[in-house]
C-alpha cells in the first residue's frame, strides 16, 4: 500500500516537568493533507516529532496503519526538518542519496534515482553543489527531494518554508502540492503561516498555546482555494479568529 493513515489518541508530550502537549487526538486519512497550526512555541513541532518517532510520548499513542509508533519508521514516514538538516559536506545529489544508501540501493542506481528526483524539483543543474552554494529556496527543494527519496507514504513537514521570503514560499508551496498529489502522499504539515495552511490543506488542526490541546479541527469544504477567492479569505479569517482572538482553550 502506497498511502497510509495516522491516528493520534490522547497524545501527551513532556520535556522534563514541562508539559508540551496533552490529550491531542486527531486522524489523518490516506492521501490527505493536514496542517497543524498554533501559536509559536505551542508544541506543534513536538507533536510532529512524536509522529515521526523522534520523541517518545509521555502518554497516549500514535498508530500508523494500526501499528504503534515506537521509533523512526523510515519505510513509512519521511521527515522534512524545520532547518532542513541537509548534510553540509554532501552535494545536493549525495544528500538525496542518503535514504537510498540506508536502504542498500546500489551506487549506480542511487545516482540515477537521486538525479531524477533533483530534476523533479527543478535542480538538475545543481546536483554537484553543496548546500552552502545553494539559495534558501534551492536547499528547500533538496530537502524535499531527499524526503521523496525515502519512498515513504507519509511526509511530515516541519515549517519547511519558514526561512523563505513570501514569494518563494507561495511558489514552493504550490509546487510542493503538485508534487505530492502526483505521488499520492499523505502529508502532515506544521506551519505558523495561516496563508499556507489555508492554501494547501484538506483539514487544519488548530492547537492552543502550550500545553497544546486540539482547539478545533477544520475541514476545508473546497480544498486548495485560489488565494484571491472569497473561500480563501473566509478560511483565513476563521483561522485568525481561532488563533488570535480567543485565549487558551483551558486554564
Amino acid at each position: 500500500m502506497r498511502t497510509t493513515g495516522i491516528s493520534v489518541a490522547d497524545l501527551e508530550l513532556r520535556y522534563g516537568d514541562l508539559l508540551a502537549a496533552e490529550k491531542v487526538t486527531f486522524d489523518v486519512r490516506p492521501g490527505e493533507f493536514v496542517s497543524l497550526i498554533g501559536p509559536s512555541g505551542c508544541g506543534k513541532s513536538s507533536v510532529l516529532r512524536a509522529l515521526g518517532g523522534l520523541q517518545r510520548p509521555a502518554g497516549g499513542e500514535i498508530r500508523i496503519d494500526g501499528e504503534q509508533v515506537r521509533g523512526p519508521l523510515p519505510a513509512k514516514i519521511a521527515y522534512v526538518f524545520q532547518d532542513l538538516a541537509l548534510f553540509p559536506w554532501r552535494s545536493a545529489r549525495r544528500n538525496v542519496e542518503v535514504p537510498l544508501e540506508l536502504r542498500g540501493v546500489p551506487r549506480a542506481r542511487r545516482r540515477e534515482q537521486a538525479l531524477a528526483l533533483l530534476a523533479k524539483v527543478g535542480l538538475a543543474d545543481m546536483a554537484d553543489r553543496v548546500p552552502a552554494e545553494l539559495s534558501g529556496g534551492m536547499r528547500q527543494r533538496v530537502a524535499i527531494a531527499r524526503a521523496l527519496a525515502c519512498d515513504a507514504g507519509i511526509l511530515l513537514l516541519d515549517e519547511p518554508f519558514a526561512a523563505l521570503d513570501e514569494q518563494t514560499r507561495l511558489q514552493l508551496g504550490a509546487e510542493l502540492l503538485r508534487l505530492l498529489e502526483e505521488e499520492g502522499k499523505t502529508v502532515v504539515f506544521v506551519t505558523h503561516s495561516l496563508q499556507e495552511a489555508a492554501a494547501l490543506s484538506d483539514r487544519i488542526v488548530v492547537l492552543s498555546p502550550r500545553p497544546a490541546v486540539v482547539k478545533e479541527i477544520i475541514t476545508v469544504d473546497r480544498p486548495r482555494p485560489a488565494v484571491t477567492s472569497d473561500d480563501f479569505h473566509r478560511l483565513h479569517a476563521r483561522l485568525s479568529e481561532l488563533l488570535f482572538t480567543s485565549g487558551p482553550a483551558r486554564q
Binding site: L54, Q82, D83, W89, R90, R94, L102
Partner: protein, 247 residues
C-alpha cells in the same frame, strides 16, 4: 603568489638580521654563532648521523601519537555522545591535562628504561589529552537535527557515528590531532634531551653540553626542518581524511 613573496621576504629578513648581528660581533658567538659557521657545521654533520637521529625521533613521536589517537578519538566520541559519562569524566580529563606530565618521566624511565618505550609513552600521554578534549568538544557541538535526520531515514548505532558524527566532528578532531602530533614530537625531543643515547634531543643536548654552539644551531635547524616535514605530512593526511570521510 603574493603570499609566497611576503613569506620569502620574512625569511630573507630574518637571515639578514642573523648575519648582521653576528658579522658585526654584536652578539657573542656562544649565544648566536655566525651563520657561516652553522652552515659549515651543518655540512660537517655526517648525513648518516642526522638521518638516523631524525628517523629515531620521528618514529617515536609517530608511535606515541598513533597510540594516543587510537585511544583518544573513540573515547572522545563516546564522551561527546553520552552526557552522563561526559559529566563524570570530563573534569578528570581537564585536570589531568593541566598536570605537567613530564614529572612522570623518571617513573617511566625507571619502569620502561631509557630507550624507546619510555619516550613513546610520554609522547603519547602528551598527545592524548588535546586529542580527547578536542574530540569531545567537536562531537558535543554536532547539530542534533543532523543526527535526528539520519535516524529518521533509518540509520542506527554505528551507522549514525560513521555517517553523521564523524564527518561533522572531523574538522575539530583534526585540529586536536594536529596539536597532539606537535606535542608528541616536542615531548619525545625533550625526553631525549633529558636522558638517552640517540635522537634529535640527544644530539641537541650533546652539542649544548660540549659548548659546541655551531653544532647546536645546526641541530636546531635540523629539528625545525623535521617539524616542517612532520606538519606537511600531517596536512596531507588531514586532507585525505577529509576527502574520504566528508564526501
Amino acid at each position: 603568489m603574493r603570499r609566497a613573496t611576503s613569506y620569502l621576504v620574512v625569511v630573507a629578513g630574518t637571515l639578514l638580521a642573523w648575519w648582521l648581528l653576528t658579522a658585526r660581533q654584536a652578539v657573542a658567538p656562544l649565544i648566536l654563532p655566525p651563520i657561516g659557521e652553522v652552515g659549515s657545521a651543518l655540512s660537517a654533520v655526517d648525513p648518516g648521523t642526522w638521518a638516523a637521529a631524525m628517523a629515531v625521533t620521528t618514529a617515536r613521536a609517530f608511535a606515541g601519537f598513533a597510540l594516543a589517537a587510537l585511544a583518544a578519538v573513540p573515547l572522545g566520541v563516546l564522551l561527546g555522545r553520552r552526557r552522563k559519562l561526559r559529566e563524570a569524566y570530563e573534569p578528570l580529563l581537564a585536570t589531568t591535562a593541566a598536570v605537567p606530565l613530564v614529572i612522570l618521566y623518571p617513573v617511566l624511565a625507571a619502569t620502561l628504561g631509557l630507550g624507546t618505550s619510555s619516550k613513546v609513552v610520554l609522547g603519547g600521554l602528551y598527545a592524548f589529552f588535546p586529542i580527547a578534549i578536542a574530540t569531545i568538544r567537536a562531537v558535543q557541538q554536532i547539530d542534533p537535527a543532523l543526527v535526528a535526520a539520519m535516524q529518521s531515514m533509518g540509520a542506527t548505532g554505528a551507522r549514525v557515528i560513521r555517517a553523521v558524527v564523524v564527518p561533522s566532528a572531523l574538522p575539530g578532531i583534526l585540529s586536536g590531532l594536529r596539536i597532539g602530533l606537535g606535542l608528541a614530537l616536542v615531548t619525545v625531543i625533550a625526553a631525549e634531551f633529558i636522558a638517552g643515547a640517540d635522537g634529535v634531543g640527544y644530539q641537541l643536548a650533546a652539542s649544548s653540553q660540549g659548548y659546541r654552539s655551531a653544532d647546536l644551531f645546526a641541530w636546531v635547524v635540523l629539528a625545525v626542518a623535521l617539524t616542517i616535514v612532520v606538519n606537511t605530512v600531517f596536512t596531507l593526511f588531514a586532507t585525505t581524511l577529509e576527502r574520504t570521510l566528508r564526501r
